[in-house]
């Protein structure tokens, strides 16, 4: 069998078996011929050593799927709509992430102003500095809680998209990789760090909130110190 005869026969057999990526496969065998010819082998000899085209083509059967091609269109339409709904969900979740991140930053700025005794454009109502310092630290703790929540939600979103892409690929393509978990993935070290930050933030926030409240009450000499200093007027 000459090179062209062999490749034609191979192409026909692959087509008969409904193997995907036929051109790619045939070009690999074409290259094999080219390399062997360069080494001084004859076409007949190379073809004989490759093995009969029918046998070679049959070995590709398991890789390309004969059955999936028919069901393909239906599955693809379904997947397409799933993808639309999914992306809507991701957009909403991304917006939530951005809002959460912005809140963390805003709260951190407020905390910084309270601690630093800055009152930009008189937005922060009057209170004595010792109370402001305590309240500021408490607010920074809250900002840190929001920060951790943002990081966690963002990792969640990322992993969700990753898992979904993997799932779509597995449904359409012939590559069946193991499905990914939907849960956010952190390295053990990062997970420990995040957990510690969150724990301490909650403690700082809770304890300082109570202390700041009591201190402000004592300074104002009234239970409702916000009335005393006319915060909401």
């Amino acid at each position: 069998m000459t090179k062209n005869e062999y490749l034609d026969k191979l192409r026909a057999e692959l087509k008969k078996n409904n193997v995907a990526d036929m051109g790619d496969i045939v070009s690999e065998y074409e290259q094999h011929f080219a390399f062997k010819l360069a080494d001084g082998y004859g076409e007949e000899e190379i073809a004989a050593k490759l093995g009969a085209p029918e046998i070679v083509a049959a070995q590709f059967d398991s890789a390309g799927e004969a059955g999936k091609a028919g069901a393909g269109a239906f599955v693809k339409i379904g997947l397409f709509f799933t993808a639309i709904f999914e992306s809507l969900l991701y957009i909403v979740f991304l917006a939530w992430n951005i809002a959460l991140g912005a809140s963390a930053v805003a709260i951190a700025v407020l905390g910084g102003c309270l601690v630093g005794g800055l009152n930009i454009m008189g937005l922060i109502p009057y209170m004595p500095y010792s109370g402001s310092l305590l309240l500021g630290l408490c607010v920074l703790g809250l900002a840190s809680i929001f920060g951790v929540a943002t990081v966690y939600c963002f990792a969640f979103l990322k992993q969700m998209i990753k898992a979904s892409v993997r799932w779509h690929k597995n449904m359409t393509g012939n590559s069946a990789l193991p499905p990914l978990s939907w849960n956010p993935q952190f390295s053990p070290k990062t997970r420990r760090t995040l957990r510690n930050i969150l724990l301490w933030s909650v403690i700082v926030f809770g304890v300082l909130f109570v202390i700041a409240f009591v201190v402000l009450m004592l300074q104002a000499g009234a239970m409702g110190f916000w009335h005393h200093w006319n915060w909401f007027v």
Binding site: Q31, H32, K49, L50, G51, V56, Q59, F60, S175
Partner: protein
């Protein structure tokens, strides 16, 4: 030797060949055929299966004069699969060797 039996082991051999360096298809085919008695055409279906299983990826590389060669390279998944399958196989081969030896001793 039984071809069907060889096929599973061939995948492992291909992974082993790619462990240290990326190689192009012909190189792998030649190397395998040198050591194991198989038809040259058998290697490409194996490479394709490894690729669709996500164990290897391919890229084209321009060589001096001549068509671009398709190189195969192990993925992370391929690397871990290789390590696991390799120790499985060696363990298995050790057991088989031991069993076969015992049989010989019994006959003698």
């Amino acid at each position: 030797m039984n071809t069907q039996y060889k096929k599973g082991v061939l995948e492992l051999c291909v992974l082993a060949m790619l462990k240290c360096q990326d190689r192009y298809g012909y190189e792998i085919a030649e190397n395998l055929a040198k050591h194991i008695d198989i038809a040259d055409g058998t290697v490409y279906p194996i490479l394709r299966k490894l690729k669709s299983d996500g164990l290897v990826t391919t890229y084209l590389s321009e060589e001096s004069g001549g068509p671009p060669r398709k190189y195969y390279s192990l993925t992370e998944l391929g690397r871990s699969t290789y390590e696991a399958d390799r120790s499985d196989y060696l363990e298995f081969a050790k057991t088989v060797e031991m069993l076969l030896k015992e049989k010989k001793d019994d006959k003698e």
